[in-house]
């Protein structure tokens, strides 16, 4: 589902055309973190991803005259980013991550290690927890260390999973917006989101089940 540009989008574009620096700053603050995550699907290093984001904003400015309200400003900006990132990746001789985006389910990745469940041949409870998750202590969830564990777990995800969880759960985008920005089907988006969330949950569980 593609959203059309809102009145706000039209006003933002108009302000940029007029050269309103504050609007430019506001937009770059709002989107650059997400743009970085998406760029990192295609290019290897953070430094190159930053260059791609810079090039994207220049592309946005130079393309303002061509912006049509058939898509949202956000979708349009991410399309520019994806094109630049792909070109950059090709120039660097990187194979594009088609498999990660188009066939994310090929290699199975269990959400929870199979050892945590009773074996399939168990006579009463096959596939039932043998080591069940315990409720997490409320007071440790708000601790800065726990936040650190969560942020590191996100950083360590494979790039496509990291981009999806960042857009969906960190930035609060809808699945339609996320699919649009990344060129993903709904199903593949859910596979990537599932794997990302499952790994982050596991990292939190590992940390929170240690003695404080």
């Amino acid at each position: 589902m593609e959203h059309v540009a809102t009145v706000d989008d039209a006003q933002l574009v108009e302000a940029l055309r007029r050269g309103d620096e504050r609007v430019f700053e506001q937009l770059t603050r709002e989107y650059s973190a997400s743009l970085l995550r998406v760029a990192q699907i295609y290019v290897a290093s953070r430094a190159v991803a930053e260059e791609v984001v810079q090039e994207t904003w220049i592309g946005v400015l130079n393309g303002l005259e061509r912006f049509e309200s058939r898509s949202t400003l956000k979708t349009w900006i991410f399309r520019i980013l994806t094109n630049i990132a792909k070109t950059r990746a090709q120039r660097e001789g990187r194979t594009l991550p088609f498999s990660a985006l188009e066939r994310p389910g090929t290699v199975p990745e269990p959400a929870v290690e199979p050892e945590r469940f009773l074996p399939p041949e168990h006579d009463r409870w096959p596939g039932h927890w043998s080591s069940r998750p315990e409720p997490w202590p409320e007071e440790r969830l708000v601790a800065a260390e726990t936040r650190g564990v969560l942020e590191r777990a996100i950083e360590e995800l494979p790039p496509a999973q990291r981009a999806v969880i960042s857009l969906r759960d960190l930035e609060g985008w809808s699945s339609a917006e996320t699919c649009n920005a990344l060129g993903l089907t709904e199903t593949n988006q859910r596979v990537l989101l599932h794997r990302a969330r499952s790994k982050v949950r596991q990292a939190l569980e590992d940390y929170l089940s240690e003695a404080p």
Binding site: L36, N62, P114, R132, W136, L141
Partner: protein, 83 residues
């Protein structure tokens, strides 16, 4: 069909959690999953942990641009404006 055959195992349930939370499960599957949750503490806690993971992620600070890159962006904006 007996109840036993319809039962979802915990190992199957953990793979359906995202589809469930996304509202992407067909009704029949959703009912099966919710029935399992009614009787399984481990899975209830698991789903709760997934919800907590999602809300904690929502509070995380995204990795922002470095001040140098922000400066460079503003400089390109001014260049663009001047042309």
């Amino acid at each position: 069909m007996t109840d036993q055959i319809e039962q979802l195992s915990c190992q199957e349930l953990v793979e359906l959690v995202t589809d469930y939370l996304e509202g992407a499960l067909p009704d029949e599957e959703r009912v099966r999953l919710e029935r399992h949750l009614e009787t399984c503490d481990g899975c209830r806690d698991y789903v709760e942990q997934m919800r907590t993971t999602i809300s904690l992620t929502g509070e995380a600070r995204p990795a922002a641009l470095t001040p140098e890159v922000e400066e460079a962006l503003l400089a390109s904006f001014r260049d663009w404006k001047a042309t």
